[in-house]
């Protein structure tokens, strides 16, 4: 689906999907992000409900980006990391987020596919999708939407992942632009911002 750059104001958005082993992997990527150059980041992480804002607190300790659980209609602002709240889908609208209690998508809520597909719909070629460790194939369909829209697909090298299945699924589908270790993923995101 082609999307006009004007729709997102030419701004980039990074969307991250992680499952089993994701807390540490997401933390490692966020640790190296530069709030002055990284685009805003939205994260769908499969998890048990750790309690209100527990994941945000855990990640905030590791990064200079501002980490928050996304509220419905929250504006997408630079320098911030938005987490899908537990048991909601996190969806991207033009310039803000929306939440949803639609049924779980292949057993997952939040669904990585849902986040990626909505981001691809609105941000088109300005979306950067990052798929990290996990033991299922959530994210592969979302990656396909991102690629179809002209976005960039960064996939964690499965040999560095706690669980390789999720990144391996996207790679097997031929959807990865680059297969990288976690520090290289962070570096690639910082480079994007510097180029804008």
């Amino acid at each position: 689906m082609t999307v006009m750059p004007s729709e997102s104001g030419g701004r980039r958005l990074v969307v991250v999907g992680a499952s089993w082993g994701g807390l540490d992997a997401v933390g490692t990527v966020l640790a190296d992000l530069d709030p002055d150059s990284s685009p805003p980041v939205a994260v769908a992480q499969h998890r048990a409900d750790l309690g209100e804002d527990a994941l945000a607190r855990a990640l905030q300790g590791r990064t200079r980006m501002r980490v928050v659980e996304a509220h419905d209609k929250a504006a997408i602002e630079p320098g911030a990391v938005y987490l899908a709240p537990p048991d909601y889908h996190l969806l991207v609208e033009d310039g803000h987020f929306a939440l949803s209690l639609e049924p779980p998508v292949r057993y997952s809520r939040p669904s990585i596919d849902a986040l990626f597909e909505s981001a691809a719909d609105v941000y088109g070629e300005s979306v950067v999708a990052v798929l990290l460790t996990g033991a299922n194939d959530d994210g592969t369909r979302g990656m396909r939407a991102v690629k179809r829209a002209g976005g960039l697909a960064l996939v964690q090298d499965p040999s560095t992942a706690v669980r390789p299945e999720m990144p391996a699924s996207a790679i097997a589908a031929g959807l990865a632009d680059r297969v990288l270790g976690l520090p290289a993923i962070a570096a690639a995101i910082n480079d994007l911002g510097a180029a804008v």
Binding site: V3, D72, K73, L91
Partner: protein
């Protein structure tokens, strides 16, 4: 015209057609979830395009019924967000007690999980015989299911846990009887409930309430529609009446931010300022 622009055109035409032919107005729904639901219906009908769906729903009311169900269903649970129900007991029930009779509006009740949770809580707080819960939804099918009070047995373990976390005072299993893989809730709970069809987008105020619970309903609306519905909710509250939204909903982004004071910011419970 690009594929994306074409899809937008087809979507707009579908929503206009549904509005003009059936009266349901989804034109100001948030685009991302709307688009997902529409495409899911396109796929499940075995169709290829949104235009194809438009033709089908215009000529086949049963297809429209299925689309409506897609648009109505939020998959939720009893005592979802137990801390909210604990806050209701501690901060809202004491205010409700000051009225001889209490009217509550559970707006967008879907299949009734929240309505039954509420009825159980109010009974335990001794309010069962002087409260009426108006549970409304735009869809008759889900209302019928809500009225039955029948839920899946396999979820009862989770519900029991959340009932206890939400301050539940009895044995949760006393409230229902299992039959097969389902349970039926105590029918006397439903005696406090009135189920009625009401569409937040197109219908107007129908009563005045002491408490309105409208959690995770407006997340499907765009900002302008949220503002409009907030107007309806505000007008439907008594002075100093209470409004409860979902945990991740914010009143700050709406035009009604100044009309309320926060009773519990974490639980998104507000009191009408005047």
């Amino acid at each position: 015209m690009t594929r994306g622009e074409l899809e937008k055109l087809e979507l707009r035409l579908l929503l206009d057609a549904v509005h003009q032919h059936y009266g349901y107005d989804f034109r100001d729904y948030a685009r991302s979830s709307l688009r997902r639901r529409i495409w899911r219906r396109v796929a499940e009908e075995g169709l290829q395009t949104i235009s194809g769906l438009q033709e089908r729903v215009l000529h086949d009311p049963e297809a429209m019924e299925r689309l409506l169900l897609d648009m109505s269903i939020s998959v939720t649970s009893m005592f979802r967000d137990p801390s909210f129900f604990a806050a209701l007991r501690e901060k809202v029930v004491p205010m409700l007690r000051t009225y001889p009779f209490v009217r509550i509006w559970n707006a967008g009740c879907a299949t009734g999980e929240e309505t039954y949770s509420l009825a159980i809580l109010l009974r335990e707080e001794g309010m069962g015989d002087r409260v009426r819960i108006y549970a409304t939804d735009m869809n008759d099918t889900v209302l019928r299911r809500a009225k039955e009070g029948v839920f899946s047995l396999e979820r009862m373990q989770d519900y029991t846990r959340d009932y206890i976390r939400g301050g539940g005072q009895a044995a949760f299993s006393d409230y229902y009887k299992a039959f097969g893989d389902r349970v039926r809730f105590d029918p006397t709970l439903a005696e406090t409930m009135v189920f009625a069809r009401h569409n937040l987008v197109t219908d107007v105020r129908f009563n005045e309430f002491h408490l309105i619970i409208c959690r995770n309903v407006m997340i499907y609306f765009d900002q302008a529609l949220q503002d409009r519905v907030h107007g309806l909710l505000y007008d439907s509250l008594v002075r100093f009446g209470t409004l409860a939204l979902g945990h991740k909903e914010s009143i700050r982004f709406t035009t009604h931010a100044d009309a309320y004071v926060e009773l519990d910011p974490q639980e998104k419970i507000f009191r009408r300022a005047a």
